[in-house]
C-alpha cells in the first residue's frame, strides 16, 4: 500500500483508541465471507502491560471518518493467541490464521503488502506475554460493547419495552465516549494536619507545607483536625468554617497562580477546605458537602467531612476524617471508617451520590492508627529505621494485611518519620506524663483510575502542634470532552439513532393485500383467511382503522373481521378471518357499489386499513362480484322485470332501479310484485292456521331454505315452492327489509302527530305513499287481517303482528308510532278503503 494512504488510515485508526493505548502496527487484510471479500484493517494495540489485535471492518474505503471503521473482532494477545503463517490449503499462499480462545480467524492479504513488520510486532508481543505471563486486559472491555442492530430477545418476546429514541441516543453517546473524551492532567495537592487546638497566629507561615511543589497545583484539598474542641463547639456541633484558618491557608498556597477558596466544610474540630486555581472555576460544578459524626452520640468530635465535585467529566470526592483515638481502639477506628463510608452522602438535587460513586477519591486525615506495641514505647522513640517498624503499623495491618479498611484504596510508601506525637514547638517525641508512643496518625489514601502519586511527605518545621502536617501531590487524568470530536460523534450518533428508529419500526407482513371473494350471493356466508405474520424483532400491535371520521366502523357493514385488533410476537403469525354476508340491509348497497363494475375490471368492495402501532399502514383491498337477486331491488323495479332477475346484468338492474319517474312500464298490471304475491298467495293457502307463523325472534331468519326460495324466486321457477309456511313468512319480511326504501313512506314525525286518528292515517296513506306502495300496503294488511282472524288457532294477535311488521314496513328509528299505525289498520274495517285504493290506476 502507498505510504501516504497507509499513514492516513493509521490516523483514522488511532482516533478509535484512548490515551495510553498505543497503535503499534496496522496491516490491511481481507476475509472471505460467503462469496464476498470483505476488507479488514488489523491493528495491534498496546496498553500498559497488555496488548491486543483488533480487526476492523471497513464501511468506506479508504476509512476517513470514525464511522467508516467497525470493530469486528478483539483478540487479546495472551496464552491462547497463536498466529499460524503456514501456507493455506490451496486457496492462497497469502493467508494466515489467528487462533484466539477457541476461535480461529482466517485472513488473506494482497501479495504486494509487506507482512514482515506486522509479524515481527506480534511475535515480540507474544514473546513478552509468555515471559511475564500476566497482563491487565480490562481496557478491552470498552470495545466489547454490543452491536446496535443486534436483536434483543427480551424485547422481541415482549418482556421488555423497546428502547425509545432518547434512551438509545444517550446509550450510544455513552458507548462512544472514548472517541470524544481526552484525558487532561491535573495536579492535586492533598494535605492533612491535626493542629491540636492551636489558633493560626500571625507568624505562622504555611508555605513550607502548601507551597512545596515546583509548579502550582490545580486543586488543594486541605484537611485540619482539632481546630477547636471546646465543650461549646461540641455541643453546638459547630459547622461554621473557621475563616482564620482559611485565610492562613490562602496565604500559604503556591504563589505561582491565583487561587480562590472553592468551598469549606466544617464539623466541630474537622474542616476540609478546597482551594482551586481561579482559572479552573468554570470547569468545576455540582459542588456538594457532607458530614458524618461518629464520636460519642455522634457529636462530632470524631467522624468525617467531605466535598464532592464534578471536574469536567469526572466526579471527585475529598474526605477529611478524624477517627477514634488510643492505641487499643483500632477496632473503633475501623468502625468509624465503615460508618463514614456508609453514611456519607452527597445530595445534588434529586441525585444522591455516596463516596464510592466517584471517579477519584482522596481520603485524608488523622486516622489515628498507632504502632502495635510489640516493642516498648521507649524503643520506638529511639528507633532510627522507621521503615522497619512500618509492618507493625495498625493501619498497614488493617489495610494491606487484613484488607479490613480502605479496600481498593491505595497509599503511597511512607518515607517520613511518624507524625505523632511531638512536644509542641520542637521535633522531640512526647515527653509528657502520658508518654505517647510515636505513630503515623496522619495519612493520605486515594482510589480511582489514572491517579499517580508524585510525593508523600511530612513537614517537620511546622511545630505548633503535637502532630506534623502531611501532604501528597498527585497527577490525575481528568476525562474531558473534546468539543470538536464530540460534535462529530454526536452527528454520527444521530444518524445511528435515525437508522435504529427506522430499522426498529414494528412491521407486519400480510400474505396478500388483495382478497378476492369471487362471486357473492345474497344470504350466503363467504370467508377468507388473511395470514399476517410478525417477521421483525419487535412485538407488533395492530388494529384496523376506520376510514372516515364520522363513522367508527372499520369496514362496510357486510364485512366482518375476526380480529379488529391484536398483538403478534416476533416470529408468530395468525390468520384473520374476513367474512362477507350480504343480508337485507346490505343487498341494495352492494349493488350500488358495484354498478359500475365492468367485465374484467374489478371494483373494490372495500379497502381495509391495517395499522401497525408506531409503524406503517397496510391497505387490504376486498374484491368480489355480486350475483344480483330480487332482494335489494326497489319494489317498482320488481314490477318492471319482464324476465327472471338472473337474465339481467347488474348494470341493467341498477338502471331500472334508477328509473324514478317510471318511464319503464310495469310488466303487467298486478297489484303487487310477483314475489310478494307468490308468498302471500302461498300463505293464504298454507299458512293461516300455522301457530307462530311469524315470530318476534324471527326464528327462521337463517334457515337454509331461504337460499332455496331465493333461487326459486330469482329464476322464475315453475317447480313446487321449496319452502315452508314459516320460511315463506320470513321471505315476505325480507323482501320489504331488503328494498332500498321502506314500503311505508310516511315519516315518524307525521305518525307521531296523527297516529291517534284513523281517518288522518288513511289520508296519510293516500297522500304520502306512492300508488304502488299504497296498494302493496293494503294488500299486505288485508292478508294480515286474515291471519289475525285465526288468532285462536295460530296465536297471532294484532299486537304481535304489528310488532313484527312495523319495523319491516316503516323502518322508523322508534317503532312506537308505526306499531300504533299498523294496529289501527289491523283493528278497523278497511274493506271499502282498500277496494277503492286497489282499483286505482
Amino acid at each position: 500500500m502507498g505510504d501516504n494512504l497507509k499513514y492516513s488510515i493509521l490516523q483514522t485508526v488511532e482516533q478509535k483508541f484512548r490515551l495510553g493505548e498505543v497503535v503499534l502496527v496496522i496491516f490491511e487484510a481481507y476475509q472471505i465471507v460467503g462469496a464476498e471479500h470483505q476488507n479488514r484493517v488489523l491493528v495491534v494495540v498496546k496498553s500498559g502491560n497488555s496488548s491486543a489485535l483488533f480487526s476492523f471492518a471497513i464501511a468506506n474505503y479508504p476509512p476517513i471518518n470514525l464511522s467508516d471503521l467497525h470493530i469486528n473482532a478483539v483478540l487479546p494477545i495472551n496464552e491462547t493467541f497463536i498466529i499460524d503463517n503456514r501456507p493455506g490449503s490451496g486457496i492462497s499462499s497469502h493467508q494466515f490464521q489467528i487462533l484466539s480462545g477457541n476461535e480461529t480467524f482466517t485472513y488473506y492479504y494482497y501479495p504486494d503488502h509487506n507482512k514482515e513488520q506486522f509479524d515481527k510486532v506480534l511475535r515480540k508481543l507474544i514473546q513478552e506475554y509468555s515471559e511475564e505471563n500476566h497482563g491487565n486486559f480490562m481496557w478491552l472491555d470498552a470495545y466489547k460493547s454490543s452491536d446496535l442492530s443486534e436483536i434483543d430477545l427480551d424485547i422481541a418476546t415482549n418482556k421488555l419495552p423497546p428502547k425509545n429514541r432518547e434512551s438509545k441516543f444517550r446509550e450510544e453517546l455513552e458507548r462512544r465516549k472514548p472517541e470524544y473524551t481526552i484525558y487532561e492532567p491535573y495536579k492535586i495537592f492533598c494535605a492533612t494536619w491535626n493542629v491540636n487546638l492551636q489558633q493560626p497566629k500571625e507568624d505562622l507561615v504555611l508555605r513550607e507545607w502548601l507551597s512545596t511543589t515546583e509548579d502550582a497545583p490545580d486543586i488543594y484539598a486541605i484537611g485540619l483536625q482539632e481546630i477547636d474542641m471546646s465543650a461549646e463547639t461540641i455541643i453546638r456541633s459547630e459547622t461554621r468554617p473557621d475563616y482564620n484558618w482559611i485565610a492562613k491557608i490562602l496565604e500559604g498556597v503556591h504563589p505561582g497562580d491565583a487561587y480562590e477558596e472553592l468551598i469549606s466544610v466544617r464539623f466541630v474540630g474537622m474542616m476540609l477546605t478546597i482551594v482551586i486555581k481561579q482559572s479552573l472555576r468554570s470547569s468545576v460544578s455540582k459542588i456538594t458537602t457532607s458530614m458524618v459524626g461518629t464520636g460519642t452520640l455522634n457529636f462530632g468530635n470524631k467522624g468525617g467531612v467531605g466535598v464532592s465535585l464534578q471536574l469536567n467529566e469526572n466526579f471527585l470526592c475529598f474526605i477529611n476524617s478524624h477517627l477514634a483515638a488510643h492505641v487499643q481502639e483500632f477496632e473503633r477506628r475501623n468502625e468509624d471508617h465503615d460508618e463514614i463510608l456508609r453514611r456519607m452522602q452527597f445530595k445534588d438535587g434529586f441525585r444522591t451520590r455516596n463516596i464510592l460513586e466517584h471517579d477519584q477519591i482522596f481520603w485524608i486525615g488523622d486516622l489515628n492508627y498507632r504502632i502495635a506495641t510489640a516493642i516498648d514505647d521507649g524503643q520506638i522513640k529511639n528507633f532510627c529505621e522507621y521503615e522497619k517498624l512500618f509492618y507493625l503499623d495498625q493501619l498497614y495491618i488493617e489495610h494491606v494485611k487484613k484488607k479490613r479498611v480502605f479496600r481498593d484504596f491505595q497509599e503511597g510508601k511512607i518515607t517520613f518519620k511518624p507524625t505523632y506525637k511531638y512536644d509542641p514547638g520542637t521535633d522531640e517525641w512526647d515527653s509528657s506524663e502520658k508518654n505517647r508512643a510515636p505513630a503515623w496518625c496522619d495519612r493520605i489514601f486515594w482510589k480511582g483510575q489514572k491517579v499517580e502519586q508524585l510525593c508523600y511527605k511530612s513537614v517537620m518545621q511546622l511545630r505548633i502542634s503535637d502532630h506534623k502536617p502531611v501532604y501528597s501531590v498527585f497527577i490525575t487524568y481528568i476525562m474531558t470532552r473534546d468539543e470538536k470530536k464530540f460534535k462529530r460523534v454526536h452527528e454520527e450518533v444521530l444518524k445511528t439513532v435515525d437508522k435504529y428508529e427506522n430499522d426498529n419500526q414494528p412491521q407486519m407482513t400480510v400474505a396478500e393485500t388483495d382478497l378476492d371473494f369471487g362471486i357473492l350471493r345474497y344470504h350466503e356466508m363467504y370467508s377468507r383467511e388473511l395470514l399476517v405474520a410478525n417477521n421483525c424483532h419487535l412485538p407488533v400491535h395492530f388494529k384496523f382503522l376506520s376510514k372516515d371520521i364520522v363513522s367508527s366502523s372499520v369496514c362496510e357493514d357486510w364485512i366482518r373481521i375476526s380480529h379488529k385488533s391484536g398483538e403478534l410476537l416476533t416470529g408468530n403469525s395468525m390468520s384473520i378471518r374476513i367474512d362477507i354476508f350480504i343480508d337485507e340491509s346490505s343487498a341494495s348497497k352492494i349493488m350500488r357499489r358495484l354498478k359500475d363494475a365492468q367485465i374484467n375490471v374489478k371494483v373494490p368492495l372495500d379497502i381495509l386499513v391495517l395499522h401497525v402501532e408506531n409503524g406503517r399502514d397496510i391497505f387490504i383491498t376486498v374484491f368480489g362480484e355480486y350475483q344480483p337477486s330480487i332482494f335489494g331491488l326497489r319494489l317498482d323495479t320488481l314490477m318492471k322485470l319482464n324476465k327472471s332477475v338472473l337474465e339481467y346484468s347488474l348494470k341493467e338492474l341498477m338502471d331500472i332501479d334508477d328509473d324514478a319517474n317510471n318511464l319503464i312500464p310495469f310488466y303487467n298490471n298486478a297489484k303487487a310484485p310477483r314475489e310478494i304475491y307468490l308468498m302471500i298467495d302461498y300463505l293464504y293457502r298454507n299458512g293461516l292456521n300455522i301457530p307462530h307463523l311469524f315470530t318476534i325472534q324471527r326464528r327462521h331468519k337463517l334457515s337454509p331454505r331461504i337460499c332455496a326460495i331465493r333461487d326459486w324466486l330469482d329464476s322464475w321457477s315453475v317447480e313446487n315452492f321449496p319452502g315452508t309456511p314459516q320460511t315463506a313468512a320470513e321471505i315476505l319480511l325480507k323482501i320489504f327489509e331488503a328494498s332500498p326504501e321502506p314500503l311505508v313512506t310516511i315519516t315518524e314525525r307525521e305518525l307521531q302527530i296523527y297516529v291517534q286518528y284513523f281517518d288522518r292515517c288513511k289520508e296519510l296513506v293516500q297522500n304520502k305513499m306512492p300508488l304502488l306502495n299504497r296498494k302493496i300496503f293494503l294488500y299486505v294488511i288485508m292478508f294480515l287481517k286474515e291471519i289475525q282472524k285465526n288468532y285462536t288457532i295460530n296465536g297471532m294477535d294484532d299486537r304481535t303482528i304489528a310488532k313484527i311488521f312495523a319495523p319491516a314496513l316503516c323502518r322508523h328509528q322508534n317503532d312506537q308510532f308505526s306499531q300504533k299505525f299498523l294496529l289501527l289498520f289491523l283493528s278497523n274495517d278497511i274493506k271499502d278503503f282498500a277496494r277503492v285504493e286497489l282499483e286505482k290506476n
Binding site: E483, H490, T513, K547
Partner: protein, 205 residues
Amino acid sequence: MSKKTYDLLFKLLLIGDSGVGKTCILFRFSDDAFTSTFISTIGIDFKIKTVELRGKKIKLQIWDTAGQERFHTITTSYYRGAMGIMLVYDITNEKSFENIIKWLRNIDEHANEDVERMILGNKCDMTDKRVVSKERGENIAREYGIRFMETSAKANINIEKAFSELAEAILDQTAGKENNDNQERVVVDRKNQEKSPAYSRCCTS
C-alpha cells in the same frame, strides 16, 4: 451541546402516481441507497431522518403513500397532518406529469391550508427516455407558485437538496408564526410523537 435528539418535528408526505419513484426517493434520502427492486407500496410507510438547519435539529418524519388509483380517496386522509408535501412525477411518463394537476387539487381539498408544496420531476438520469421537458415542469410550478426541482433517486441528484429546501420553507413559516404568537400550532411538541393522519384512531378497537 444539548442531549436531546431534536428540536422540531416536521411531517412530510410524498404523493404522485404509482411508479414515479416516491419510495426510491425516500429510501435514497433516509438510507442513502438505491434498489430497483421495490415492491410497490400498498399502504402508508414512513421513515425518519434528522437534519440540522440553522442550528436546529429537525426530525423529519416522511410518509410514503401508495399511488395506485384505487387508494386515492384513502390516502387523502393522510394529508391533513402534513406540513410539507412533495408531488412527484416521472419525466419519462407524460401521464404522471399531467396528473400533477389532479394531485394539486387533492392537496387543496384535503391538506392544511398552509402546507408547503414542492414538485419533483424524478428520474432525470434517464435523459434518452425523457418526454417531459424541464421547462414544462418549471412552468407549472411557476403557475401555482410552488418550488420545483428535477431529481434522480438513482443517480442521487437533488434528493438531499429537495428535502432540505422543503424543510427550510417550513422552518421559515414556523419562525414567522412564532412571531405572530401562533407558536403552538406549528412547533410540534416533542412529546407528541404519535403521528396523526386524519384517521380517527381513538374510536377503533
